[in-house]
Symmetry: C2
Subunit: 868 residues, 2 copies
């Protein structure tokens, strides 16, 4: 029979699995000789036994923990249930992984009427004794008996009112005694300390299966069989007088990362009082003055613990009558800046390796170096919440159109562009805005994708807002009206909209950050590329570490003022010859654009996607714009109207777009190929090294690829022959329909690379339109139907399975295919780790996501299990 | 070394794989002792050898076939290459499966100048000899040398013009000799018969890999490795004079199925002349008068062959100078009515079994018993083509709106409803129309689905049409204008639109057909259910053999006049209480509808799908209708406009619909469940046996099912407890997102049945919107990018793979789940076979598809390989 009960001196930090995280750390501190109030732990396998036998404690358990209890009594010199010298316990759950939603702590367990009286006697502090007792009853009723707290609070309130007391501190021992008498009528509360302990242990085990805990485990893929341990620890008291107190501390500054001992201390207070913030605690250094020896001991302890754990620690301690007790140590939470500084410092201190340093930084932490961030402490007047579409913070005057944004921002006034949704026609306004806020659209809507690409803060799908363009106002669901010209602040990292100008931290790189990125590049296998179309974005991408362009969306080049009319003319053309005239003009634009891109990306691959969006996206949609276009290009307005109407689709996302355009209008593809290859030839003639990779979008079968590849190769070979130049090129496909993934074996022989377009793949796998998901995703998240928006982090279960099928199957069809991802997931750390694990060669993301991607890629590689 | 060459007396009909279909049948006839011109066959493995060695004939092959040739010479008493007594050959390809796109036949192979002269001498018919020779040269040049035919035709034309000849029959031996001389200058034509033969054999092998043949194999999943055989057969001549001739015949009447020998004969003509239709052939009985002995022999032969092959045969024969030669036998093509009659007759004749009879009827053939069909011989004035959305033929006056359809049809005038597309608001017009024609929409668009459900002929996605509602005209791409009131005919089985009233065959069942259906029911494993909402449709479905309702789309019940306003009120309600008032009214309607359905379906399961479509589908979309609604239900028109606008979606197919509605508005589900269960209780109280099955649509994960199931079960249990009645019920899900299929293991424990909604599943797997597919599917089909519209026949490769994954994975999660399909594929024979093979329990389809489904299900079962 395996041992079910461990004393604190019988385990170590490596026993998380057996003793839970909390228990393992208490054992570790005990074995380091630190002053930990003694106690014992009931193991996690015991929890499984409990469930396996129909929620019954194993028969032998009680005698086992009674032995441990006796040893604790001996160690502490007090006795559980002895009114003259009582030992009290805290009882906590502790699972192998940190898991919210489980049981709250019960403090002061082991009290009853007699012991309260004894404690009052022993301490000479009856108020302390009865306050402790009534707290215990309340906690026990709540946690073990599942009683509502309201009747208890009610008793206290009524007593206070009747006796003219305001605060808890006004209550005397007698007051609490009166309260306790009433409490005892509310619950059937066991006076026997042993019975209390047994019930508390059962309650901890049962809390493993609360609905909240189950949902949490399901969401985080935590094994239901792990079970929880139970920590039973002797109580110490910080509220014993002026030489007592409680505190929390960090071994380094968690905001800045500076290597200074940092924390807070509250004299004559229990640990819970520090957390509750009833009085304001003093800096930890205050202890140096009042209890210098305790401070020195604490200081040495924190230094020891940091060295021992090789990470910045978050400590909880209590001082009881001038004696220090350590209650907890764990790795401390920290800001992004601090995490980078601490990691880099610890490497130079020789405490950790570069690889470990990389794992210490959460990729999201990197945001702080790239964007101004809203100061979390300064946040106020949050009037609406949307989706955190593009990180960072921004403040500006509200404008309601792109033109207005351009106009107002001319005299350097910062603006926030507020729209129902954005379209390619809004780009000029988006470019000048500090931040973008839309009522509709998901995390991969036009506004979100473009904003991330520009590194501009954005909130999308903010359905709390009701826009009235005509009135020039936006009204929140709570009735707050924001008018044109009002100042608001967006937090694009959280999705919060605030009134006024909320302080922000400046974005700025640091040497530490650069050092960390260098290490990331050294330790990653995945390449990183950028999604970019303009030379400016491409230059930014190179600066931020891009090793190529993974997605150049050629259609973006056609939305610019001069070009769009040529594009429209081409779409409106009724005959092939007419279309050819427009295509010739578009060719020139596209060639120039491509040349500029090849120049910036000299020596690196550039993946160019063929025209993808439905054609009607290019046409004007209201009568006024149609009339204007008609005048400009000389096509009757009826023709424009008719054509726009006939191109309209019920579900454009599933419509006439992607390679379907290339099949029906091969002449468009011919033009694009000519532009790409002739630009590459020009670049080559300038002495540069262009590496074009042509990508065919929205493929469902190999015949599409074969037919389009024919057109592409014909164009390339002709151009190369004419100029007697050889350009290395690749032809590949975007994997963005479930059918492409499921049929990858057949696609494989026809392609040299496959790039997963996980935006569309997610849309089709879920049947979620990224433009419409706002209608229900809020409800889905609130009700925990989905753990997160699948457009933010890749759904590994289904979308990921399609990717794995595609990779495995395609390898049967052809060896040596290069695999990448160019959906928005390419910049999401969790998704990047998955991409690494399934063997992709590169991820491609918005330029501003590159540092995040580099670190995430390195982490994935460092974490990869060594193959056996 | 395997034998490469088989004489006709060395094989049998079971050697298709080795000798090809044609060769195997020639061997069979030979071994039956029938007069087959002798010859030999080069096997299909030889074709593979040819390719494996880089398109070279195996070294030994020539000596092998020369041995066979010598034996043929001996048998025929003539010699290959002997001018005095020449043996000539026809050379044909013949693969194990019939495969168009391969080589044409070469006739008269073995001729050269000398032999032509010899043949002229021997036959005393120089015109015959030189005509045969010039034909040979032309065929050889075309088929073996790949020469264009035009220069040859040119030579003949010029010769005719110069010599004042009009018809080929005007040409004399000398004329043909002159032509031959010129032909020889056009091609480098080998005089050596052995060389001709060798090149012809190579050409047959090479024709296996023409692009057309490759595409055909890819489309039909034919193994590229099969290869083709080569049939080398002695020539006989029907154009030798009045006691010669050629004919084709059927052992029974292929139109009616009557058991009478049936065919045509043309005296003094080669086989190719009969096919070319230069002169009109006489009925086969004419032979009885002119050559009674030959006729008797032929008659006996056909009887023998039919008995031998146990199927109606299609024969080709030639009579040379009073001697009968059999050239081919194969199973004959027949009409739907004939196929049923022949199959049933042959069972009573003891010739075949019931199971075999079932395999003899193509499920499409059944259409003729269910719908009037356009007479294929009467077709004319085809002015447009669309998708064959609902089978049968219909003639009527053109109307352009549902109201107009109702108005005009009042005095029994048949109408054809022509619309851009249809919506639920057009139902009343669709009900009275003879046929429906739409410009937009695919095979599963609203018009198509509803028409099939009603058994009404329909053509959708007819993009050749340009509708002008205002002018009341529709103009075809070729400029034909059809106005209101004009009579047109639709062929819904082919998608053809014709002007005027084209004759149609009447739909009528027959005893034979009923017999066949009885056999189908006896021999199938798959159950068949119907998609139906109304008691009328359900009654029709029962009549046509439904064993339950597989899909009752509850929303259809809300589109009826009275109800739609309640539905709209519910959607427009801003508060839950307000919504509740409308729901109460809807509840009454829905309960009554469900009760009526349970009554008709007494004793059979009824699968009821919860509300599925996006809510905006119920709201009016134009100002006039909005104003009218506002008046009727007292909601301000601005509210209606605002709500309609806010519910509008970019891609409604991927939007706020299906179970997403149940999650956000559980009160709608509560109402629906109450309606279903209280109707079932009422039915039970009437002494009936209702079996409701509640189906949750558009699921992506198990949490959706869990949450909705909670609502469903609460409602059901409450109602049953109140009434103290127990109703057997099931809860299941529609599998229609790729994610549901890929995550089926997790869904399984929460459901009792899974019904594949392959319409949506196909949309999402391909990224093809069924409403928009018309924009490119024509091009895709024309260019052979897809072999067929995936909405018509299930895409087994990807959609089918998802279904298989779902079934396999869900069986891990739970045993005993019932599997069905309720997409439109449930009525498609090929898809039904697939459903049988992957182990579904039932298919559900439109009532009028049930007979087709029953036969297809039986065929699938009969064809299922016996497990080893």
């Amino acid at each position: 029979m395996a041992k079910r009960v461990y004393l604190f001196n019988e385990g170590s930090k490596d026993d998380r699995e057996l003793l839970g995280g909390k228990g393992a750390n208490l054992c570790e501190m005990t074995s380091l000789g630190l002053p930990v109030p003694f106690g014992f732990i009931i193991t996690t396998p015991t929890c499984r036994e409990f469930f396996d036998s129909g929620n019954k404690l194993p028969g032998k358990l009680e005698s086992e923990y009674r032995v441990a209890l006796a040893l604790v009594e001996e160690h502490m010199g007090t006795r559980f249930g002895d009114p003259d010298n009582p030992l009290l316990f805290s009882v906590r759950s502790g699972a192998p992984v940190s898991m919210p939603g489980m049981m709250n702590t019960i403090l002061n367990l082991g009290m009853n009427d007699e012991i309260a009286e004894g404690l009052a006697r022993k301490t000479g502090n009856p108020r302390f004794a009865y306050d402790s007792y009534r707290r215990f009853i309340q906690m026990y009723a709540d946690v073990v008996l599942g009683a509502e707290d309201e009747p208890f609070a009610d008793v206290i309130e009524k007593h206070k009112a009747a006796h003219n007391k305001k605060l808890d501190t006004d209550m005397t021992a007698e007051d609490w005694q009166a309260v306790i008498e009433q409490f005892k009528q509310l619950v059937d509360f066991p006076q026997d300390p042993q019975e209390q302990l047994k019930s508390a242990i059962e309650a901890v085990f049962l809390s493993w299966n609360t609905p909240r805990a189950i949902v949490y485990r399901e969401m985080n893929n935590i094994d239901d069989d792990l079970g929880t341990a139970v920590c039973v620890q002797s109580m110490v008291f910080g509220n014993f007088g002026e030489t007592s107190g409680s505190g929390v501390a960090f071994t380094r500054n968690p905001s800045t990362g500076d290597d200074h001992f940092f924390g807070e201390y509250l004299a004559n207070a229990a640990g819970e009082d520090v957390v509750a913030g009833i009085r304001t605690p003093l800096p930890i250094t205050s202890l140096e003055e009042t209890l210098p020896e305790v401070y020195q001991q604490l200081f040495d302890t924190q230094a020891l613990l940091e060295r021992h754990y090789r990470d910045m620690q978050d400590l909880e301690f209590t001082v009881q009558e001038g004696r220090l007790y350590m209650l907890q140590t764990r790795s401390g939470k920290r800001t992004g800046r601090a995490s980078v500084k601490i990691a880099v410092d610890m490497v130079s201190e020789g405490l950790i390796t570069e690889k470990e340093a990389l794992l210490r930084v959460s990729p999201e932490h990197v945001e702080a170096f790239l964007h101004p961030m809203v100061d979390p402490d300064a946040k106020q007047d949050i009037v609406a919440r949307g989706l955190p579409a593009s990180p960072g913070g921004a403040t500006g005057q509200v404008v309601f159109s792109a033109d207005e944004a351009v106009e107002v921002s001319k005299n350097d006034t910062p603006v926030i562009l507020v729209r129902r949704e954005t379209t390619p026609e809004d780009i000029h306004g988006m470019k000048v805005a500090e931040g973008i806020l839309t009522e509709l659209g998901g995390m991969t809507s036009h506004a979100a994708v473009v904003a991330r690409g520009m590194g501009v803060c954005a909130i999308t799908g903010c359905e709390d807002l009701n826009l009235d363009y005509k009135a020039g106002t936006v009204t929140t669901d709570d009735g707050v009206v924001i008018g044109r010209g009002d100042t608001i602040t967006l937090d694009g990292s959280t999705g919060e909209v605030m009134l006024g100008d909320i302080p922000k931290t400046e974005a700025s790189s640091s040497d530490d950050f650069q050092t960390l990125l260098t290490w990331a590049d050294k330790h990653r296998r995945l390449k990183v590329r950028a999604n970019a179309e303009t030379p400016e974005d491409a230059a930014k991408a190179r600066e931020l570490g891009a090793e190529g362009i993974g997605l150049c969306r050629t259609e973006h080049m056609f939305f610019e003022a001069e070009r769009i009319d040529q594009m429209r003319g081409m779409i409106l053309a009724e005959k092939k010859e007419e279309r050819a005239t427009y295509l010739t003009k578009l060719l020139e634009f596209q060639r120039a654009d491509m040349l500029a891109l090849f120049e910036v990306m000299d020596g690196l691959p550039v993946t160019v996607r063929l025209l993808d969006p439905p054609l009607h996206e290019f046409l004007p949609h209201d009568e006024e714009d149609m009339a204007a276009l008609s005048k400009r290009i000389g096509v009757p307005v009826e023709v424009i109207r008719e054509r726009a109407h006939s191109l309209q689709e019920v579900n454009p996302m599933l419509g006439f777009r992607g390679c379907r355009l290339s099949i029906v209008f091969p002449e468009i593809t011919e033009m694009q190929v000519e532009a790409i290859i002739s630009a590459a030839i020009l670049a080559k003639e300038k002495g540069l090294n262009p590496f074009p990779e042509i990508m065919i979008p929205l493929v469902v079968n190999v015949r599409e690829i074969r037919r389009i590849t024919e057109v592409i190769e014909k164009g390339i070979l002709k151009a190369m022959e004419e100029k007697q130049v050889s350009i290395p090129y690749k032809i590949g496909t975007m994997m963005e329909t479930p059918r492409a993934c499921l049929g990858a074996k057949r696609l494989a022989p026809a392609v040299e690379f496959m790039s997963f377009g996980t935006n569309d793949l997610t849309q089709m796998t879920y049947g979620f339109s990224r433009d419409d998901i706002g209608k229900f995703i809020g409800d889905y998240l609130d009700r925990k139907i989905v753990e997160q928006d699948p457009f933010v982090s890749l759904d590994q279960r289904a979308v990921g399975r399609l990717m794995k099928i595609a990779i495995e199957d395609s390898k049967i069809g052809r060896k040596g295919i290069k695999y990448g991802i160019c959906g928005e997931h390419g910049g999401d750390p969790k998704s990047i780790r998955f991409c690494h694990e399934i063997g992709l060669d590169y991820v491609s993301c918005s330029p501003y996501r590159l540092p995040v991607a580099r670190i995430a890629a390195a982490q994935a590689n460092v974490l990869e299990p060594v193959p056996e």
